[in-house]
């Protein structure tokens, strides 16, 4: 039995008011949001097709306050949903009707910058980019770079195990988190990991990263920072056939080169991006592949010709190496705006986050093309090709009768293709509320039962972000939902995303 959203609990009259007052006693007047119009700002994350208004939103300022709130919730059987900046794309921060939202927005201090030990300690509400900003004058940076990095928070990154464009070489959030302070669902505060390596015992920290708020709330994070590379070189190559771009990716790693990033876009994306940001991409190319190498100059210099040779061997039409940082930024700008640019071509789009083994890229692309034709819906393809993370964008018009449903179904079929190829239903966006019905494509009853065993050790009442990640018999949330319709931040051009 997977835990699911609680059945409506019979509360005595006046319970809500009383509960709100108790929260206020812990957090002060400005630490609790009650007003309906203010609560609306918290009714969804960036997957705006799902909206639920919570009972209250609380804004604790310390781990002690988080703990007291969670203890109260545990005593009263009130579910809670942690929330960072709300940039998540899987509905992971979607509230529950009977519960509260615990926003970590106020816990946004950088507690310690320790350059000699290459560590930074932050509260969860600190944004991803501000970690790099705090250390860049020392020549360091924080490696995971989800494209919402100017707004998304470290707490959210930890919950989702966020990636970015440099995962093949530098790993994901899990590889850069060294310690956590966690408030467990019943309010107990624990520490796991820390600034020092190899703590004995189970890797609780490793489990917390990517647990999507189901195991507790992270209130302090120790991060590893790394030295900026000596040099960075970026090139792009254009191809007639996207299959050649895909084969180039495996060709490059097969030659022993691990690029910092490799990104593929298909013609549909190239055209919409070019129109939106003028990155200088050839609009008639079937696809382009961006390759970024970084590291010691001698290494990059030795590997660049190898990369070019592989690309030529796979029928690259044009290869352009960025001459300077400005041109490099321009190459990336096109890629980073691929999602918002789609908004210009199509009124609605639904983004998937499947992962496949790199070597299956050409095969999977062919299959996605077939499905696209079968459903009569266009699919734009943008990939973190180095790590096999695909972001197919299913284009549709929600005003056309039945098209939303068709788009969702097609997106689901694409995930099936990814799993059949030996991959995953999500590489970085998380399962959340959106993809829980697909989790069983990857995991059988024993696998899910084991995950649930673990969850129960953390949260016997199932109150921490209930109803997410695991498939449940309940489908009421899914009914009447709409696919991704664009986050206000992206529409306003404030956040880029992958």
């Amino acid at each position: 039995m997977q835990s699911s959203t609680k059945e409506t609990i019979e509360r005595p009259p006046g319970w809500k008011k009383d509960f709100g007052e108790r929260l206020t006693r812990i957090l002060g007047r400005d630490g609790v949001i009650y007003a309906d119009d203010e609560l609306l700002a918290y009714d969804a994350d960036a997957l705006t097709g799902y909206r639920i208004k919570p009972l209250f939103v609380v804004l604790p300022g310390t781990s002690g306050e988080v703990s007291r709130v969670m203890k109260m919730c545990y005593e009263e059987d009130v579910p809670f949903v942690p929330r960072g900046a709300g940039t998540g794309l899987s509905g992971g921060a979607l509230p529950t009707e009977e519960g509260i939202v615990i926003s970590l927005a106020r816990m946004n201090r950088i507690i310690e910058v320790d350059i000699p030990n290459e560590r930074v300690v932050v509260e969860p509400g600190v944004t991803n980019l501000s970690v790099t900003n705090a250390v860049s004058s020392y020549g360091y940076y924080y490696a995971p770079d989800p494209s919402s990095q100017i707004v998304c928070t470290i707490g959210g990154n930890v919950a989702e195990n966020s990636g970015g464009v440099h995962c093949l070489k530098y790993g994901v959030t899990a590889n850069h988190v060294l310690g956590l302070e966690v408030v467990l669902p019943d309010g107990e505060i624990i520490e796991t990991g820390g600034k020092t390596p190899d703590h004995p015992g189970y890797d609780i920290m490793g489990l917390m990263v990517g647990s999507e708020g189901l195991l507790g709330i992270v209130t302090r994070v120790t991060l590893r920072i790394i030295k900026k590379p000596e040099t960075v070189k970026t090139l792009f190559a254009s191809f007639d056939r996207i299959e050649d771009a895909g084969a180039s990716v495996s060709g490059i790693t097969a030659r022993g080169v691990i690029p910092a990033g490799m990104e593929i876009m298909d013609n549909l994306c190239i055209r919409s991006v070019e129109e939106a940001v003028h990155a200088g991409y050839p609009v008639d190319a079937g696809s382009i592949l961006l390759v970024e190498l970084d590291g010691p100059r001698a290494e990059v210099d030795a590997q660049m010709p190898v990369v070019e040779e592989v690309l030529r061997g796979h029928n690259a039409l044009e290869i352009r190496i960025a001459r300077d940082a400005k041109e490099r930024d321009l190459f990336w700008k096109g890629r980073k705006n691929a999602f918002p640019a789609m908004g210009r071509v199509s009124s609605d789009y639904y983004v998937q986050d499947g992962v496949i083994p790199r070597s299956k890229l050409a095969q999977v692309l062919g299959r996605i093309g077939e499905l696209s034709r079968e459903y009569g819906l266009s699919v734009g393809n943008v990939f973190h090709a180095g790590d096999g993370n695909l972001h197919p964008l299913v284009l549709y018009n929600s005003k056309n009768e039945g098209e939303s449903e068709k788009a969702l179904e097609l997106a689901g079929r694409i995930l099936g293709v990814c799993v059949e190829a030996g991959g995953s239903i999500t590489g970085e966006h998380g399962v959340g509320n959106d993809k829980k019905r697909f989790l069983s494509l990857m995991f059988d009853e024993n696998d899910l039962d084991t995950m649930n065993l673990m969850r129960c050790a953390f949260d016997s009442k199932g109150l921490s972000n209930p109803g997410k990640v695991f498939p449940t018999p309940r489908t009421c949330v899914e009914q009447g939902m709409k696919p991704y319709a664009g986050h206000p931040l992206h529409k306003a051009g404030l956040g880029e995303m992958y």
């Binding site: 790993g171 899990a174 020092t196 703590h199 030295k227 691990i258 010691p296 030795a302 070597s359 030996g422």
Partner: protein
């Protein structure tokens, strides 16, 4: 008890030829003096599942074992009725070189896995001790064992992307996947890294791989003082060099090693060994930079000849297990990078105080210090106590990797597990309600 029907049942699962109840064999598999009642050699995951089902129903304890190279780690087991050997699970299931990913059964010796991967010029970049002694993939994962290369590549924790495990109740589950980027469901594989066989039997694991670097170079330099040596470490870390390993050896270890390898008598000092693996030109360029940096801190040294390089790193990994006449212990401290010199000073202090001999190699860029202590029993016990107090008060840890039988009962292998201990125990209970898997080894 010895004729209890459960042992016949277990034997029938694997077949008589894959079970042993011969007294001498049983004795050789004893764990900290606890002699097992049966050794089983299952040939596939289904048999492991049957074994666990039967064992959990009968309530007999099960200790998973690879090649036994880390048998000395952990506290004395509360029971070891069944030794479940993974020896016959030694296949490479797949090596997808284009994806830089491989899956293998966990009883495979790391050395065998590496030679298979090398055919496609790839490797799993973990270099724990005991690889020549047959250390298995499963054992390395369960003990989260690592070596100097972790500076560049991390430990098996960072490299493992999927696994298949048999639970205490016999159910087989998988966690993770075969792709390097995957956030579907909990990251279950992490839970098993360092879990010491207490949560389940790891049967298969999938790892991300790296290309074998074209070239490798190691520069070794000795310093007048500990401060100078650590100053060089600081500069190396703060550079943009891509370094595979920085090992900081204390004078006692550097002296012995230099003598063994014929490096001369100049090495009875704090010594750094810096390894770079890359394309040839990048190795050459960066070796020059390493020389400049270490010279800037007063280091004197040379590039180890290609014929000696592997031998040198072999010594760094294996030195604590060289035979010693005296009682001893092998320890691992995990401290801040900046606290490594304080551990070395502490070793000097306790050497003077207790008359012990302490040889130490620090993974200077990680804050790991491997310490080998020789001395009389009481002195070793006191030394461990002081080192642990120091490490823990500095926010770190000190674990006993091995200790001679006469002193081991007096030592706690793990030290404090901090405020998450209660949760760890709840997880253990959830996975193994009967406490049959390696009971008492971890807690």
């Amino acid at each position: 008890m010895t004729e209890s029907p459960i042992f016949n049942e277990l034997t029938s699962i694997v077949g008589g030829e894959n079970a042993s109840r011969d007294p001498e064999t049983l004795e050789s598999y004893a764990v900290d003096g606890v002699v097992p009642k049966i050794i089983l050699f299952p040939g596939n995951i289904e048999q492991i599942s049957e074994i666990m089902k039967a064992a959990s129903q009968a309530g007999v304890s099960v200790v998973p074992a690879g090649s036994g190279t880390k048998k000395g780690m952990g506290n004395k087991p509360l029971g070891a009725d069944v030794i479940l050997s993974t020896k016959k699970l030694s296949r490479v299931i797949e090596h997808e070189s284009a994806d830089l990913v491989a899956t293998a059964e966990c009883g495979i010796a790391l050395a065998d896995l590496q030679s298979c991967l090398r055919r496609k010029n790839q490797f799993l970049p973990v270099d724990p001790p005991h690889v020549p002694g047959g250390a298995t993939l499963g054992g390395i994962i369960a003990a989260n064992d690592s070596g100097p290369l972790r500076l560049r590549y991390g430990t098996s924790r960072e490299l493992m992307i999927g696994m298949k495990v048999v639970r205490a109740d016999g159910r087989i589950f998988k966690g993770g996947s075969k792709v390097v980027k995957n956030v579907a469901g909990y990251d279950m594989p992490k839970l098993f890294v360092g879990s010491f066989g207490t949560l389940g039997i790891i049967a298969e694991a999938t790892f991300r791989l790296y290309p074998v670097p074209e070239s490798s170079g190691t520069y070794i330099a000795s310093f007048e003082s500990l401060d100078d040596a650590h100053g060089a470490v600081r500069s190396l870390i703060d550079s943009a060099l891509v370094i595979n390993a920085v090992e900081h050896l204390n004078p006692a270890l550097a002296g012995t090693m230099a003598e063994r390898l014929g490096f001369g008598s100049d090495f009875n000092r704090y010594t750094l060994a810096v390894r770079i693996m890359n394309v040839s030109r990048a190795v050459e360029d960066q070796m020059k930079a390493v020389m400049d940096i270490t010279r800037g801190s007063g280091g004197k040294g040379f590039i180890i000849g290609a014929e000696n390089e592997e031998a040198f790193w072999h010594e760094v990994r294996e030195f604590p297990w060289r035979s010693s006449e005296q009682a001893g212990a092998v320890l691992k401290a995990g401290v801040l990078i900046s606290d490594v010199p304080r551990v070395f000073l502490m070793l000097d202090e306790i050497s003077g105080k207790y008359g012990i001999r302490a040889r130490a190699a620090a993974r200077a860029g990680n804050g790991i210090v491997i310490i080998s202590i020789d001395g009389d029993g009481e002195s070793v016990i006191n030394s461990v106590k002081e080192l642990r107090e120091f490490s823990e008060s500095a926010g770190g840890s000190l674990t006993v990797r091995e200790a001679s039988p006469d002193i081991k009962p007096a030592l706690d292998a793990w030290g404090g597990m901090g405020s998450s201990l209660g949760l760890m125990k709840r997880i253990k209970t959830a996975f193994d309600p009967g406490n049959i898997l390696n009971p008492g080894r971890l807690f």
